[in-house]
Amino acid sequence: MENKYYPWGGEFTRCTSNSCVAVVLLNIEYMPSDKVAIYGPLKTENIGIEKIVANVISNPNIRYLVVCGEEIRGHRSGMSLIALNKNGIDDQHRIIDAPGAIPYIENINSEAIERFRSQVKTINLIDEKDKNKIDIAIDKCIKEKPGSFGKPYIAIRIVPEATTNLEDQRALHSKIVVDYMGKIEKRGE
């Protein structure tokens, strides 16, 4: 389903692709309603955040990122994600004013980060444990109906490895000719 979105893949759940909300789960046992576009956990303040950025900007319908649950101790991933959205990165690729230990963005470029900052507004519900309050915040975002941001932005593409053995010339030059009855007329050259 919806293979055109979320190119990095990962541990998240796809729901309604044209929804405007994605939900980031820190330390919390909570399952949002299927009215959201995607939801999934965030653990680390570097690669974890990069995955969220790359996947979120691939779906231009996502305009709100609700970050909820107890903050990840040590990593401070939730606040680092919010800092990225607010401040961007410096010339060392470090998220500006992020509280995490190693909040470095190394796999997506500054254009993708700027796209993330423009496309998405973060809703800070860090340390909010009341699931009703989180549901209410999500519903409020959905009611805003902000509309699509435009075209998908593909920051990373995972390409299946070619399986053809280029040393095997038969694979490159063989031809099968089939006649109008579906019978093989010629095999190879």
């Binding site: 893949g9 990962g10 796809r14 470095y104």
Partner: protein, 110 residues
């Protein structure tokens, strides 16, 4: 008197703080419950001021079976530390068990 003596070695877990980080990189293991797959992402280390701060995304392996994933990783990511391969083997096997039992999987430490 025996013809041959063989050493008996009692197993001892290396404390996490004594584990050497692999200069060849690290792996992120996840269970994609939507696609019913195990995903293993390989990253080479990114250093800043002589410490590893992140990874450069190099390869991703997907499959359902730990044996196939391990065999493929060995072929595609050579020269890891032996203890790193052993760690991957047991973690990916655990991911497979959780996938089959439809249980949540969280990657463990080394």
């Amino acid at each position: 008197m025996a013809d041959k003596e063989v050493s008996l070695i009692k197993a001892k877990k290396t404390p996490e703080k004594e584990v050497n980080l692999d200069s060849r990189g690290f792996f992120v293991i996840e269970v994609d419950s939507d696609q019913k797959n195990i995903r293993v992402e390989y990253y080479s280390n990114v250093y800043k001021k002589d410490r590893i701060v992140s990874g450069s995304f190099e390869k991703v392996f997907i499959g359902k079976q730990a044996d196939a994933l391990c065999d493929t990783i060995v072929k595609n990511v050579p020269e890891l530390l032996p203890e790193h391969y052993m760690y991957l083997g047991r973690e990916i096997q655990r991911a497979q068990c959780n996938l089959e039992k439809n249980k949540k999987y969280v990657q463990g430490g080394c």
